[in-house]
Protein backbone atom coordinates (compact mmCIF):
# COMPACT_ATOMS: atom_id res chain seq x y z
CA UNK A 1 0.00 0.00 0.00
CA UNK A 2 1.31 3.41 -0.89
CA UNK A 3 0.44 6.93 -1.87
CA UNK A 4 1.70 8.74 -4.95
CA UNK A 5 1.51 12.49 -5.45
CA UNK A 6 1.85 14.18 -8.82
CA UNK A 7 0.98 17.62 -10.12
CA UNK A 8 -0.95 18.03 -13.35
CA UNK A 9 -0.15 20.82 -15.80
CA UNK A 10 -2.49 23.21 -13.98
CA UNK A 11 -0.88 22.58 -10.61
CA UNK A 12 -3.60 20.30 -9.23
CA UNK A 13 -2.11 17.74 -6.84
CA UNK A 14 -3.36 14.26 -7.74
CA UNK A 15 -2.99 11.74 -4.90
CA UNK A 16 -3.20 8.06 -5.83
CA UNK A 17 -4.16 5.57 -3.10
CA UNK A 18 -2.76 2.15 -3.97
CA UNK A 19 -4.15 -0.60 -1.71
CA UNK A 20 -6.10 0.53 1.30
CA UNK A 21 -6.57 3.67 3.34
CA UNK A 22 -6.88 2.57 6.94
CA UNK A 23 -5.85 3.35 10.48
CA UNK A 24 -2.32 1.99 9.93
CA UNK A 25 -1.37 4.31 7.07
CA UNK A 26 -3.69 7.31 7.30
CA UNK A 27 -1.00 9.38 9.00
CA UNK A 28 1.29 8.89 6.02
CA UNK A 29 -1.37 10.22 3.65
CA UNK A 30 -2.13 13.12 5.97
CA UNK A 31 1.51 14.15 6.17
CA UNK A 32 2.07 13.95 2.41
CA UNK A 33 -0.97 16.08 1.64
CA UNK A 34 -0.16 18.60 4.38
CA UNK A 35 3.40 18.90 3.01
CA UNK A 36 1.97 19.63 -0.44
CA UNK A 37 -0.40 22.19 1.10
CA UNK A 38 2.55 23.79 2.89
CA UNK A 39 4.41 23.96 -0.44
CA UNK A 40 1.59 25.98 -1.96
CA UNK A 41 -0.71 23.30 -3.40
CA UNK A 42 -4.37 24.34 -3.08
CA UNK A 43 -6.29 22.05 -5.43
CA UNK A 44 -6.24 18.34 -4.59
CA UNK A 45 -7.78 15.25 -6.16
CA UNK A 46 -7.61 11.92 -4.32
CA UNK A 47 -7.86 9.08 -6.83
CA UNK A 48 -9.24 5.79 -5.45
CA UNK A 49 -9.10 3.84 -8.71
CA UNK A 50 -6.57 1.40 -7.21
CA UNK A 51 -8.03 1.31 -3.70
CA UNK A 52 -9.39 -1.86 -2.13
CA UNK A 53 -11.01 -0.54 1.00
CA UNK A 54 -11.23 2.48 3.30
CA UNK A 55 -12.03 2.23 7.00
CA UNK A 56 -13.58 4.91 9.21
CA UNK A 57 -10.14 6.30 10.09
CA UNK A 58 -9.47 6.71 6.38
CA UNK A 59 -12.78 8.52 5.96
CA UNK A 60 -11.91 10.67 8.96
CA UNK A 61 -8.55 11.73 7.58
CA UNK A 62 -10.20 12.83 4.33
CA UNK A 63 -12.67 14.93 6.31
CA UNK A 64 -9.91 16.59 8.31
CA UNK A 65 -7.69 17.20 5.26
CA UNK A 66 -10.58 18.70 3.33
CA UNK A 67 -11.23 21.09 6.21
CA UNK A 68 -7.57 22.17 6.41
CA UNK A 69 -7.35 22.67 2.65
CA UNK A 70 -10.54 24.75 2.58
CA UNK A 71 -9.19 26.91 5.40
CA UNK A 72 -6.31 27.78 3.04
CA UNK A 73 -8.74 28.66 0.26
CA UNK A 74 -8.31 25.36 -1.58
CA UNK A 75 -10.42 22.32 -2.33
CA UNK A 76 -10.10 18.53 -2.11
CA UNK A 77 -12.08 16.35 -4.49
CA UNK A 78 -12.40 12.61 -4.84
CA UNK A 79 -12.58 10.30 -7.83
CA UNK A 80 -12.37 6.69 -8.93
CA UNK A 81 -14.60 5.22 -6.20
CA UNK A 82 -15.89 1.75 -7.04
CA UNK A 83 -19.51 0.90 -6.34
CA UNK A 84 -18.82 -0.36 -2.81
CA UNK A 85 -16.77 2.69 -1.81
CA UNK A 86 -19.37 5.00 -3.34
CA UNK A 87 -22.00 3.27 -1.19
CA UNK A 88 -19.83 3.76 1.90
CA UNK A 89 -19.64 7.50 1.22
CA UNK A 90 -23.40 7.65 0.68
CA UNK A 91 -24.24 5.70 3.86
CA UNK A 92 -21.99 7.93 5.96
CA UNK A 93 -23.42 10.97 4.11
CA UNK A 94 -19.87 12.04 3.29
CA UNK A 95 -20.95 12.29 -0.34
CA UNK A 96 -22.56 15.57 0.76
CA UNK A 97 -19.23 16.86 2.07
CA UNK A 98 -17.07 16.07 -0.96
CA UNK A 99 -17.25 16.70 -4.68
CA UNK A 100 -16.96 13.19 -6.14
CA UNK A 101 -16.12 12.60 -9.81
CA UNK A 102 -16.03 9.33 -11.72
CA UNK A 103 -12.54 9.75 -13.17
CA UNK A 104 -9.50 11.88 -12.42
CA UNK A 105 -9.96 13.61 -15.79
CA UNK A 106 -13.48 14.60 -14.77
CA UNK A 107 -12.29 15.78 -11.34
CA UNK A 108 -9.49 17.85 -12.89
CA UNK A 109 -11.78 19.35 -15.50
CA UNK A 110 -14.19 20.47 -12.74
CA UNK A 111 -11.57 22.71 -11.09
Amino acid sequence: MSFTLRKDKHGVVVVGVDGQLIVGNRQELKQKVLDALESGGRKFVVDFTKTGYIDSSGLGVLVSLSKKIREQGGDLRLCGLNEDLQTLFELTKLDTLFAIAKTSEEALAAF
Binding site: V23, L91, T92
Partner: protein, 152 residues
Protein backbone atom coordinates in the same frame (compact mmCIF):
# COMPACT_ATOMS: atom_id res chain seq x y z
CA UNK B 1 8.97 -6.15 9.24
CA UNK B 2 9.13 -9.35 11.26
CA UNK B 3 5.63 -10.22 12.30
CA UNK B 4 4.41 -11.84 15.50
CA UNK B 5 1.18 -12.73 13.71
CA UNK B 6 0.54 -16.49 13.66
CA UNK B 7 -2.66 -17.67 12.08
CA UNK B 8 -4.13 -20.96 13.24
CA UNK B 9 -6.43 -22.70 10.75
CA UNK B 10 -8.60 -25.67 11.76
CA UNK B 11 -11.27 -27.64 10.01
CA UNK B 12 -13.87 -29.23 12.17
CA UNK B 13 -16.76 -31.45 11.18
CA UNK B 14 -20.04 -30.97 13.02
CA UNK B 15 -23.74 -31.21 12.27
CA UNK B 16 -23.11 -32.71 8.84
CA UNK B 17 -20.97 -29.89 7.58
CA UNK B 18 -17.36 -28.91 7.84
CA UNK B 19 -16.53 -25.61 9.40
CA UNK B 20 -13.23 -23.83 9.03
CA UNK B 21 -11.96 -21.83 11.99
CA UNK B 22 -9.21 -19.27 11.72
CA UNK B 23 -7.80 -17.73 14.87
CA UNK B 24 -5.23 -15.03 15.35
CA UNK B 25 -3.91 -12.99 18.26
CA UNK B 26 -3.05 -9.42 17.27
CA UNK B 27 -0.78 -7.18 19.39
CA UNK B 28 -2.30 -3.88 20.48
CA UNK B 29 -0.52 -1.84 17.85
CA UNK B 30 -2.40 -0.28 14.93
CA UNK B 31 0.41 -1.12 12.52
CA UNK B 32 -0.74 -4.76 12.63
CA UNK B 33 -4.29 -4.04 11.44
CA UNK B 34 -3.46 -4.14 7.71
CA UNK B 35 -1.16 -7.20 7.88
CA UNK B 36 -3.68 -9.09 10.09
CA UNK B 37 -6.50 -8.43 7.60
CA UNK B 38 -4.31 -9.59 4.68
CA UNK B 39 -3.23 -12.72 6.54
CA UNK B 40 -6.81 -13.77 7.34
CA UNK B 41 -8.28 -12.83 3.96
CA UNK B 42 -5.49 -14.81 2.27
CA UNK B 43 -6.60 -18.00 4.05
CA UNK B 44 -10.36 -17.48 3.91
CA UNK B 45 -12.11 -20.26 1.94
CA UNK B 46 -13.59 -19.10 -1.42
CA UNK B 47 -17.12 -19.83 -0.15
CA UNK B 48 -19.63 -18.81 1.12
CA UNK B 49 -18.64 -15.16 0.58
CA UNK B 50 -18.09 -13.76 -2.92
CA UNK B 51 -14.64 -12.34 -3.75
CA UNK B 52 -16.17 -8.87 -3.82
CA UNK B 53 -17.70 -9.25 -0.34
CA UNK B 54 -14.43 -10.64 1.01
CA UNK B 55 -12.43 -7.82 -0.54
CA UNK B 56 -14.73 -5.08 0.68
CA UNK B 57 -17.25 -5.98 3.40
CA UNK B 58 -15.23 -8.60 5.27
CA UNK B 59 -11.88 -6.77 4.98
CA UNK B 60 -13.23 -3.38 6.01
CA UNK B 61 -15.27 -4.83 8.88
CA UNK B 62 -12.27 -6.73 10.22
CA UNK B 63 -9.99 -3.68 9.95
CA UNK B 64 -12.63 -1.57 11.68
CA UNK B 65 -13.25 -4.01 14.54
CA UNK B 66 -9.52 -4.55 15.07
CA UNK B 67 -8.78 -0.84 15.18
CA UNK B 68 -11.59 -0.26 17.68
CA UNK B 69 -10.39 -3.13 19.87
CA UNK B 70 -6.76 -1.94 19.83
CA UNK B 71 -7.45 1.75 20.34
CA UNK B 72 -10.57 1.91 22.53
CA UNK B 73 -10.58 -1.59 24.06
CA UNK B 74 -6.95 -2.32 24.85
CA UNK B 75 -5.93 1.36 24.75
CA UNK B 76 -2.75 0.46 22.83
CA UNK B 77 -1.47 -1.49 25.86
CA UNK B 78 1.36 -3.74 24.58
CA UNK B 79 0.64 -6.24 27.35
CA UNK B 80 -2.82 -6.91 25.89
CA UNK B 81 -3.81 -8.71 22.70
CA UNK B 82 -6.89 -8.71 20.50
CA UNK B 83 -8.23 -12.18 19.75
CA UNK B 84 -9.75 -12.78 16.32
CA UNK B 85 -11.79 -15.91 15.58
CA UNK B 86 -13.37 -16.46 12.17
CA UNK B 87 -15.87 -19.29 11.82
CA UNK B 88 -16.63 -20.16 8.22
CA UNK B 89 -19.73 -22.30 7.81
CA UNK B 90 -21.70 -23.49 4.83
CA UNK B 91 -23.83 -20.37 4.48
CA UNK B 92 -22.49 -17.93 7.04
CA UNK B 93 -19.24 -16.38 8.26
CA UNK B 94 -18.96 -15.24 11.87
CA UNK B 95 -16.17 -12.93 12.84
CA UNK B 96 -15.44 -12.56 16.56
CA UNK B 97 -13.11 -9.81 17.77
CA UNK B 98 -12.37 -9.70 21.49
CA UNK B 99 -10.21 -7.27 23.42
CA UNK B 100 -9.01 -7.25 27.03
CA UNK B 101 -10.54 -3.91 27.89
CA UNK B 102 -13.43 -2.92 30.12
CA UNK B 103 -15.99 -2.89 27.33
CA UNK B 104 -18.43 -0.15 26.35
CA UNK B 105 -22.13 0.40 25.71
CA UNK B 106 -22.66 0.56 21.94
CA UNK B 107 -26.05 2.22 22.46
CA UNK B 108 -24.34 5.37 23.75
CA UNK B 109 -22.41 5.99 20.51
CA UNK B 110 -23.96 8.96 18.67
CA UNK B 111 -25.02 8.79 15.02
CA UNK B 112 -22.10 10.18 12.96
CA UNK B 113 -24.40 11.17 10.09
CA UNK B 114 -26.15 13.86 12.15
CA UNK B 115 -25.48 17.28 10.59
CA UNK B 116 -23.54 18.49 13.64
CA UNK B 117 -21.30 15.40 13.62
CA UNK B 118 -20.75 15.04 9.88
CA UNK B 119 -17.58 17.12 9.70
CA UNK B 120 -15.90 15.44 12.68
CA UNK B 121 -12.83 13.29 12.01
CA UNK B 122 -13.71 10.42 14.35
CA UNK B 123 -16.75 8.46 15.51
CA UNK B 124 -17.76 6.54 12.37
CA UNK B 125 -16.34 3.11 13.26
CA UNK B 126 -19.42 1.45 14.69
CA UNK B 127 -21.69 2.97 12.06
CA UNK B 128 -19.43 1.69 9.27
CA UNK B 129 -19.33 -1.76 10.89
CA UNK B 130 -23.11 -1.93 10.99
CA UNK B 131 -23.30 -0.88 7.34
CA UNK B 132 -20.94 -3.60 6.18
CA UNK B 133 -22.24 -6.80 7.74
CA UNK B 134 -25.61 -8.49 8.17
CA UNK B 135 -25.59 -8.54 11.97
CA UNK B 136 -23.55 -6.96 14.77
CA UNK B 137 -23.77 -8.33 18.33
CA UNK B 138 -21.77 -7.36 21.39
CA UNK B 139 -21.38 -9.45 24.51
CA UNK B 140 -22.83 -8.01 27.70
CA UNK B 141 -19.53 -6.52 28.84
CA UNK B 142 -19.00 -4.87 25.48
CA UNK B 143 -15.44 -6.10 24.90
CA UNK B 144 -16.30 -8.70 22.26
CA UNK B 145 -18.16 -8.22 19.01
CA UNK B 146 -19.57 -10.89 16.72
CA UNK B 147 -20.04 -9.82 13.10
CA UNK B 148 -22.18 -12.05 10.93
CA UNK B 149 -21.94 -12.11 7.14
CA UNK B 150 -24.45 -14.29 5.31
CA UNK B 151 -23.51 -16.17 2.13
CA UNK B 152 -23.35 -14.12 -1.03
Amino acid sequence: MTTPLRLDVRRRAGGGETETELSLDVPSDLQYVGPAVELIVGRLPPAPLSPRRIRFNFSTALAEALANAIAYGNRHDPARVVRVLVQVGHDVVRLHVTDEGDGFDPDTVPDPTLPERLALEDGRGLFVLRSLVDHVAFNEKGNSVCLTLLAG
